[in-house]
Each structure stands twice: as structure tokens, then as C-alpha cells.
């Protein structure tokens, strides 16, 4: 059978992840140390794991309500108020399978064929294909190191057309570590208030900021009615494998998202939801403890990379640094492959996160200090081989 004639042409046209080949290579090598992962190295705090286990012991193994356990939705509403000054009713909370599902639902609930979706790049790789799958037209907005990879009001305004439906707003940003502070957000909000553009604010890294608290764009005057906030438990509570996220937003939008969620997913995993209640109730200190560790590693990496000549702007959120490799004159992919072959260190080419990521690499600091120190030593050796290490 010729499956290419059978399979959806839209799906077939989606570009597969360009770096799969690269990581197959890495996996085949012995002794590779990775700086590639996108999840915390910490285990889920034990109190949370315990709550999940207890729910299983009690036999809570059924579906929950489609939108999630009422108790959890209330806790989420309280949490958003407590930590980010966001005011939502628990009825506006939809519990999803990771932040990823929430992104998917929000995009599908809003986009008609031909609608334009503005996506600041470099960014997480899922926004673009999800938009394409529903006939949307992704419009990349390149952010730049000289703007600290922030989205500027000018760039936003210039990209808006009558067809613009949605702005994906991924801050704190994967892969750059950029954040948008209150003042930056004011500029963006000012542009958006004149429009009917909906903001898909992906705030999955909201708890991981290192110089001041994260500010949600939905907390600015006039923005709540045009924003869907996506967040989750993966990064803040080290719960990636539990697959639990949520979205909050205007009830008209949430109702449509819930409908899609009902048909596609039924409900988020029950065990994870019970565990998440415990997370929201008793783990603010754990968040803090992990964030402090990430902060110290960030300092270590930024300082060492800058000294080696891989200049990086000071990332203020998430757990990535995004150094420039332009001194090597190589493409990001060549650099990463060379580093892997020479020193067995795996980092991710910036170009995997959009064209504007070319000339950079993403380095995750979701690793122990010992691991990072060894990886930095190897990177320095590689730069020495390339002959680009700055003179002391």
C-alpha cells in the first residue's frame, strides 16, 4: 500500500524534529553527558508522590469530572491568586494532560483556517505544528539577543494583520530563558488592547524566575478577557511524568476547550490529580528550594560560558541558557555534532527552536553541579580544539 496517499497530507507535511538524527547518534555513543533535557532533575517531592500512592491505595481509579476534580480546580484558582495575583473562579479552570494539551485545545478552539498565529521565536517546538493542523498560519516573530530575547511592541505591531487571531506568548521562555517583566508586558498589552487578538500565555516556567516574581500578562488591566493562561505541574513541582497541566481563561473560550477535551481525552489522569492537590496545598517551600538550586546553577553556567567566549545574555527564567556560538563561525547543528563527537557532550542546536535560534545552542541546567562542571570542562576543551578560546 502506498501509505503516503492514505495518510493525512497535512500531517505528512509537518516537519519532523530536525534533531532526531543527532540524538540517535548521541544515544549510540558510550559515555555521553547530556545537557539536553527539558525537565527538572529533581524527583517529585515525596509528599506529592505519597498523595498519588494513597489515592491508589484508596482505590480512586475512576475517571474524574471532565474538567478535573472540583477540589483541584479550587486549589488551582487559589494558587493562581496566591502566587500570581490572578483572579479566576474554579469553574474557569480546565485540568489537562500537561500544559501541552492546553496549548493544543486553546489553539483548536480559536483558529479557523487561514487565521494567523503569531509565535515569538526561538520557542518551544509545538506551537507551530498545532496551528498548522487546524489550518492556521504560523507567523514567526523573531526575538533577538540584543533585546534579551523579549518580544517588543514594535515587532508585535508590525506583524498584526486583519487575519491575526492569536498571539502565543511563551515567557519565561524555552529555550532562551527570557522573561517579560511588568514594564515589558505593559508595552505588549497596549498594542493588544486595541485588537481582538487572544493571547495564549504559556506560563509553564512561571515559578522559575531568578530576579523577581513572574508577572502574568493576564494580570494587567484589560488583558484577562483576551488571555488564556496555560500552566502546569511539570516544571514547578518536578512532575513531568505525571502529565498534568491546566488552562484558565474567559468562560466562553474555556467552554469550547472543555468540549474538545471531553471528546479527545475524557479527563486528565486521576492519580495525578490527587497528587496535584497535595502539591498546591503544601509544596510552596519545595518550589522555592528547587528554584534556589536552579538559580545557583544558572550563575555557574552563565559565568563559565561567557568566560569561554560563548556569550550569553543573562537568562532570567526557566532552566536554560542560550549562548551564542557565533565565534566559532559554525552552524548550530555543526557545532553540536562536533561537540558530541569530540567531547561527548550533547546540547541542542538553537535552530531546532526556529530560524532565529541559528547561531545559538540551548544548554539545560537541570543537572547536578558536578555534572555541569564536568560538561563545562569538556566544552572548554572543544573550544580549545577549535582554536576559539579567548586568551586569558
Amino acid at each position: 500500500m502506498d501509505y503516503s496517499k492514505i495518510l493525512s497530507s497535512c500531517v505528512q507535511q509537518l516537519k519532523p524534529s530536525g534533531i532526531r538524527k543527532f540524538f540517535d547518534l548521541a544515544n549510540a555513543m558510550e559515555g555521553v553527558i547530556s545537557l539536553g533535557v527539558g525537565e527538572p532533575d529533581f524527583r517529585t517531592p515525596y509528599a506529592i508522590r505519597r498523595a498519588g500512592i494513597q489515592s491508589l491505595e484508596k482505590g480512586y481509579t475512576w475517571y474524574t469530572a471532565n474538567a478535573g476534580l472540583a477540589e483541584l480546580r479550587e486549589e488551582i484558582a487559589r494558587y493562581l491568586h496566591r502566587r500570581f495575583d490572578l483572579n479566576y473562579e474554579s469553574s474557569q479552570v480546565l485540568v489537562t494532560v500537561g500544559g501541552s494539551e492546553a496549548i493544543d485545545l486553546c489553539t483548536r478552539a480559536l483558529i479557523n483556517p487561514g487565521d494567523e498565529v503569531l509565535i515569538p521565536e526561538p520557542c518551544f517546538v509545538a506551537y507551530d505544528p498545532i496551528a498548522r493542523l487546524v489550518g492556521g498560519v504560523p507567523v514567526p516573530l523573531a526575538t533577538r539577543a540584543e533585546d534579551q530575547f523579549k518580544l517588543t511592541p514594535e515587532a508585535l505591531r508590525a506583524a498584526i494583520t486583519p487575519k491575526t487571531k492569536m498571539l502565543v506568548f511563551p515567557f519565561p521562555n524555552n529555550p532562551t530563558g527570557a522573561i517579560m517583566n511588568r514594564q515589558d508586558l505593559e508595552g505588549i498589552a497596549e498594542v493588544l488592547r486595541e485588537t481582538d487578538i487572544i493571547v495564549l500565555s504559556d506560563e509553564i516556567y512561571a515559578e522559575l524566575t531568578y530576579e523577581g516574581r513572574h508577572v502574568s500578562i493576564a494580570s494587567l488591566p484589560g488583558m484577562k478577557e483576551r488571555t488564556v493562561v496555560v500552566n502546569g505541574f511539570s516544571k514547578a513541582y518536578a512532575m513531568t511524568g505525571w502529565r498534568l497541566g491546566y488552562a484558565v481563561g474567559p468562560k466562553e473560550i474555556m467552554a469550547q476547550m472543555l468540549k474538545l477535551h471531553q471528546f479527545a481525552i475524557m479527563c486528565a489522569p486521576t492519580t495525578s490529580q490527587y497528587a496535584a492537590i497535595e502539591a498546591m496545598r503544601s509544596c510552596d517551600d519545595e518550589i522555592q528550594r528547587m528554584a534556589i538550586q536552579f538559580g545557583m546553577r544558572r550563575g555557574l553556567l552563565v559565568n563559565s560560558l561567557n568566560k569561554m567566549g560563548l556569550t550569553c545574555f543573562d537568562p532570567q527564567g526557566a532552566f536554560y541558557v542560550f549562548p551564542s556560538i557565533k565565534i566559532t563561525g559554525m552552524t548550530s547543528e555543526d557545532f553540536c555534532e562536533g561537540l558530541l563527537r569530540s567531547q561527548k557532550v550533547a546540547v541542542i542546536p538553537g535552530s531546532a527552536f526556529g530560524e532565529s535560534g541559528e547561531g545559538y545552542v540551548r544548554i539545560s541546567y537541570s543537572y547536578s553541579v558536578e555534572h555541569l562542571v564536568e560538561a563545562l570542562r569538556r566544552i572548554e576543551t572543544y573550544l580549545g580544539e577549535l582554536g576559539v578560546l579567548p586568551k586569558e
Binding site: 539536553g36 533535557v37 559565568n303 553541579v369
Partner: protein, 159 residues
């Protein structure tokens, strides 16, 4: 607020002052001064590697010993504890609440070495009333470091 440098060093004492500075947002000079102070004031007592001797050819036998002792008037337990701490074989000495007074960790080359040390050196001490020796069979965690082979990183590379 706990001293951050102390916290980091308690976990990993091999970081350079420059690395510590980057991690804490201080200058290298400030870090050096702070460590000097911590050492001078006896807050940092030393820096040692945590070794899994079982993986080497050094034979090592460890025992936990519970001692009941008679405290001296005026000196309490400090004098006898201080005396015991002088022996090179004794790695750790603690004053305990509960059923006995002092807990020791004693190291020797062999089971017999340790047993003889207890019989010939500890038991005869004037204030020692009784000893109970427990040999260590296997060490799982030492100073916060899990010493049995730990899981490898199971995380997959993701975006």
C-alpha cells in the same frame, strides 16, 4: 537564612571560588574572605572525600559501638569522650540520649582488629561500664551521599 556558601560547600567542597562566586552572585574576593572566616572561626572543620572503600583493595571493617560510661563529677562525659576521641581507630564519637551514653564508629582492617581494639583499649578504660559492638555489614548512604549504585539519569532529551 543559612549561609549559602556553607550550604554549597557542605554539598560539594571542590568548587572553585570563582564558581562559588558565580553561583551566589558575590565577587571572588568576597567568597575567599567568607571561606577564610568560616575556617578561622572553626565553622568549616575540614574538607574530605567521601570514599567507597569497598571498591578499592583497602580492607576496612567498621563497627558501631555503644558505650555506657560513668560520668566524672565536674567533667560530665566530656573527659572520657575526649580520651576516646584520641584513638586513631575511632572515627566518630557522639554523646547520646537513651539507653547508653556514647556512640562510636570504629574502623579497623579486619573484624578481629576492631574486636581487639574494643577488648584491649576501650573496655579497660576506667569509666567504661560496658560496650556493645555492632559490625557494619553494608553502607548505603554516607554523609548524605547514597553509596550503593544509584539509578542513572532516565530522562530523555526533549524540547
Amino acid at each position: 537564612m543559612m549561609n549559602t556558601i556553607l550550604q554549597i560547600l557542605a554539598d560539594n567542597a571542590r568548587l572553585t571560588n570563582e564558581q562559588l562566586a558565580a553561583m551566589t552572585g558575590k565577587t571572588t574576593v568576597e567568597v575567599a574572605q567568607e571561606i577564610d572566616r568560616l575556617q578561622r572561626e572553626g565553622i568549616i572543620k575540614g574538607y574530605k572525600a567521601i570514599v567507597d572503600w569497598d571498591k578499592t583493595d583497602r580492607s576496612l571493617c567498621l563497627a558501631r559501638i555503644e558505650l555506657k560510661v560513668t560520668p566524672k563529677s565536674g567533667m560530665g562525659f566530656d573527659e572520657i569522650a575526649g580520651t576516646i576521641a584520641q584513638f586513631d581507630e575511632v572515627q566518630e564519637v557522639y554523646l547520646m540520649s537513651g539507653g547508653y551514653d556514647l556512640a562510636l564508629e570504629v574502623a579497623g582492617k579486619t573484624f578481629k582488629d576492631v574486636a581487639l581494639f574494643v577488648a584491649h583499649r576501650l573496655a579497660p578504660l576506667e569509666s567504661v561500664q560496658s560496650t556493645a559492638t555492632h559490625f557494619v555489614l553494608k553502607k548505603y548512604k554516607e554523609q548524605g551521599v547514597v553509596t550503593v549504585d544509584t539509578d542513572q539519569d532516565m530522562r530523555e532529551v526533549t524540547f
